[in-house]
Structures are given as structure tokens and as C-alpha cells.
């Protein structure tokens, strides 16, 4: 098979830009998702009644409906109810909805993995429930969660492809645009693959490293 390398070179800058966009969206989405997840964990930890139900509902919706449909709902359906969000706002809401749901699950099992005795010895020195969460549970849950949290980062970063559906110029959008225009199918797919390899291979190796490092719950140093 003959590859049109000139064509690939010509569009390299577009792909670099798109790769940057993918990373930017992914990065911001991860940040917001973490934020959401910490708040959710807080709610779950303190069992703030009506809110825990909301958190559960969120988790179930996020995990059991496709991101594409969430995205379409926000982007195309909400304006009919008079709420118009920009593409980027939509992306960040939808992705933090998804990521927040997944990350909360990660934190939840992380918190459950912190032994009950840790809470008890915290209580025994008179810590309030907030102090217990802040100084004892959260730092340990975070550390325990690191490998699966990282696996979820990768998952979320991959889900960014879905946002091409609402015209956000990330990697997949760029690739399919060029394919539908010029039909340099294999050239464009190869470019996309290379971009994803550049992004994901290092992350994947980092994940492997973190997993080995934290498998036995190493703390400190």
C-alpha cells in the first residue's frame, strides 16, 4: 500500500494542534472530575441524606448511559428548553459528569479500603468527623486509589474522541474531517494512531509503574 507522505507532512501541524486539543480537553476534564469526585466522596462519607441519593443517581447515570447521548442531550436538546451551552462548556460538563461518576466510585472503594480501625483510632483521639475525613481517611484513600485513578484518567482521556460529534476539533474530528474530504484514509488513520501512541504509551507505562509501586499500599517516602 502506498502512503502519501507529502499529504501527511502537510497536515502534521493540524494533528499536533488536534493532539493538543485532546490533551487540553482531557486534562481539564480530569481536573473537574476529580473536583466532583472529592465533593461526592465527602457527601458519601458524611452520609448527607438527600445528597447521597443524588450522588448515587449521578453515578448510575454516568456509568450506564453512553457519553455520546449525554453529550447530545446537553448540546442539542437543552437549547430547546432555552439553555444554550457552548461546545466547550458542554464538553466539560459531560466529561466531568462521566469522569466524576467513575472517579467517585474509585474513591469510594479507596475509602472502603481504609481500615475501619483507622477511623476508630482517629475518633479515639477526639478528632471530629471532618478532621477524620481531612487528615486520616482522604489522604489514605487517595493513595490507595492512585493506580485505579490513573487507569480512569486514561479511560477518560480516550473518551474525548466522543466530543468530535459536537464539532470540537480534537484528534478524531480532525481525522474524520480529512478522511471525508480527501479520502486519504490510511494516511490520516496512521497520523491519528501515532498521535494517540505518543499520548497514551507514556501514560500506560506510568500506570504500570504506579501499580507496582502502590500495589502493597506503600506509604510515605
Amino acid at each position: 500500500m502506498h502512503l502519501d507522505t507529502d499529504f501527511m507532512w502537510k497536515h502534521l501541524p493540524d494533528f499536533v494542534r488536534a493532539g493538543g486539543e485532546t490533551l487540553r480537553i482531557g486534562g481539564i476534564a480530569i481536573f473537574f472530575s476529580l473536583f466532583v469526585a472529592v465533593i461526592h466522596s465527602f457527601i458519601l462519607f458524611f452520609r448527607i441524606r438527600p445528597l447521597t441519593w443524588a450522588v448515587r443517581l449521578h453515578i448510575e447515570l454516568a456509568r450506564n448511559t453512553p457519553l455520546l447521548i449525554q453529550l447530545f442531550f446537553l448540546y442539542f436538546a437543552l437549547p430547546q428548553l432555552g439553555i444554550k451551552l457552548s461546545a466547550m462548556t458542554t464538553v466539560f460538563i459531560a466529561m466531568s459528569f462521566l469522569g466524576g461518576g467513575y472517579f467517585t466510585e474509585v474513591f469510594r472503594s479507596g475509602m472502603e479500603a481504609v481500615e475501619k480501625s483507622q477511623s476508630e483510632s482517629g475518633l479515639a483521639i477526639g478528632l471530629s468527623k471532618w478532621q477524620l475525613f481531612r487528615y486520616v481517611i482522604l489522604p489514605q484513600a487517595l493513595r490507595i486509589s492512585i493506580p485505579s485513578l490513573f487507569a480512569n484518567f486514561i479511560f477518560l482521556l480516550k473518551e474525548t474522541t466522543v466530543v468530535s460529534a459536537i464539532a470540537v476539533p480534537e484528534l478524531l474530528y480532525t481525522t474524520t474531517s480529512y478522511i471525508s474530504l480527501y479520502y486519504k484514509t490510511y494516511e490520516m488513520l496512521l497520523m491519528m494512531t501515532l498521535c494517540y501512541l505518543v499520548i497514551f504509551l507514556p501514560l500506560s507505562f506510568l500506570l504500570g509503574y504506579l501499580e507496582r509501586r502502590y500495589r502493597h499500599g506503600a506509604f510515605g517516602l
Binding site: E115, S117, Q118, E120, S121, G122, L123, A124, I125, G126, L127, S128, Q131, Y135, V136, P139, Q140, R143, G217, A218, F219, G220, L221
Partner: protein, 255 residues
């Protein structure tokens, strides 16, 4: 012996309808060392946990310096500062250094100044012989060292009573001694203590009174010599036998 520090009156505790403590009456005077003995599952740990508010009780009253602990007037969080507790498996916070473990309570709960609290902590650390470990992480320490840190962590809150729940049960036999000696030391200084242990010799050495429990009830309260030499209840005798029979062991017939 001082005034009554702890008074338990008809304390009841059940888990899902299963009665674990049955009408417990017990007084502990200031400066007194009470050792609680009894077979596994008889409710010793539960008793200590009730005194620390880790388990709510279903009946009776717990008085600390004459105040009803479960009246809800003083939150448990405050009371716990006066009642220190040490657990079987140390439960140090693995993500903090030794010093941070010890200072968490004094700084965050009691809002003491770091300087003053740290000085206090270091004094206590050097008393248990671990001052040089103050910047180590728990996992870098042996079990015996961790348990001594746990004791310091509780002491640094300046409690008026200390509760010890089988604090040497998880330790290698060689490390038992170093922990027991810290406790003996505390007893000598007049700390009020409630101790659950299976170390009979230590119990005998440290206790002012032995409380023997079985099936959620207090069967016998006696001074150590009396208890070990002339246990009154059949259940206590049976219990003591289990411990001592093998020691007077029959050995084996030569093959």
C-alpha cells in the same frame, strides 16, 4: 486511692438483639489499675469500646467524674480527649510520621501550640525510648515500637484514664516485654488504667484489681493474688486452667 473516676451502672450492650454486655456494674477509682480477663468473645473489647464511645450502649449509665457520658451534654469528641485508648493492632496513621501521628490530636483537636505539644511529645517519646524515631514512618518500625508510639499518641492528649485492649496480642513474643514495661511504668506513676490482656503474669504484676468476665457478665472482681491463687467462680478456674495446663505439661513418652 482517689475519687471515683469511672462508674458503670447496669450497662447493657447488644448487637442486633444479641446481648454482649449484661448489666455491668464497675467503679474505677483515680489512680487505679483494673485488668479485665475473660475468654474470647466474652465482651472485654466491647466494654472498653463503650467507655470510649465507639459503641453506643443500650441501657444503664456510664459516669465519668460523675457526669453521664451518654446524656449528650458533652460530645464524645470532647470526652475522648480525657479517655485515651490503645488498640491491639496499634492503628497508627500510615501516611504520617511518628511525630505527626502523635501531634494530630494535640494540634487539631486541642489546638495546642506546636512548640509546646512537640516538646511534650518528645518527652514522652524519650520516655519510651523512641525519640530517635520521631521522623520515621510507622512501616519502618517494628510492632513493638509501633505500639509504644500508639501509647504515646494517646498519652500526649493528657488523658485521665487509659484503656488498653490486648495491646500485646499482635506482637512478636520478644517485643511484648518492651510494651508491657511502658505500661508498668505508667502504673507506677499513678495513671488510671483499664487493661484487657492475656498476659497473666503481667496482669498479676500490674493490677490493683482483676475483673473476670464471661458471657457478657462480670463473674468475679478480686485482687490479683486472690484471683490467681483462689479463683472463686468455676468459670474463672476453668479459664485459668486453659492457660496453665500446658505449662505444667505432661511432655511426651520417649519413643
Amino acid at each position: 486511692m482517689g475519687e471515683r473516676l469511672l462508674q458503670l451502672r447496669q450497662v447493657e450492650k447488644s448487637f442486633d438483639g444479641h446481648r454482649v454486655l449484661k448489666r455491668i456494674d464497675l467503679d474505677v477509682a483515680a489512680g487505679e489499675v483494673v485488668v479485665i480477663l475473660g475468654p474470647s468473645g466474652c465482651g472485654k473489647s466491647t466494654l472498653l469500646r463503650c467507655l470510649n464511645g465507639l459503641e453506643p450502649i443500650q441501657g444503664g449509665t456510664l459516669l465519668f467524674k460523675g457526669e453521664d457520658l451518654n446524656a449528650g451534654k458533652v460530645p464524645w469528641r470532647v470526652t475522648r480527649q480525657k479517655i485515651g485508648m490503645v488498640f491491639q493492632s496499634y492503628h497508627l496513621f500510615p501516611h504520617m510520621t511518628v511525630l505527626d501521628n502523635i501531634l494530630l490530636g494535640p494540634l487539631k483537636v486541642q489546638k495546642r501550640s506546636r512548640r509546646e505539644a512537640a516538646a511534650d511529645a518528645e518527652k514522652l517519646l524519650s520516655r519510651v525510648g523512641l525519640l530517635d524515631k520521631k521522623n520515621a514512618y510507622p512501616r519502618q518500625l517494628s510492632g513493638g515500637q509501633q505500639q509504644r508510639i500508639a501509647i504515646v499518641r494517646a498519652l500526649c492528649m493528657r488523658p485521665e484514664v487509659m484503656l488498653f485492649d490486648e495491646v500485646t496480642a499482635a506482637l512478636d513474643p520478644e517485643m511484648v516485654k518492651e510494651v508491657l514495661e511502658v505500661m508498668l511504668d505508667l502504673a507506677r506513676e499513678g495513671m488510671t488504667m483499664l487493661i484487657v490482656t492475656h498476659e497473666m503474669r503481667f496482669a498479676r504484676a500490674v493490677a490493683d484489681r482483676i475483673v473476670f468476665m464471661d458471657g457478657g457478665e462480670i463473674c468475679e472482681i478480686a485482687p490479683p493474688d486472690a484471683f490467681f491463687n483462689r479463683p472463686q467462680s468455676g468459670r474463672a478456674r476453668q479459664f485459668l486452667n486453659r492457660f496453665f495446663e500446658i505449662e505444667t505439661g505432661k511432655g511426651r513418652e520417649e519413643v
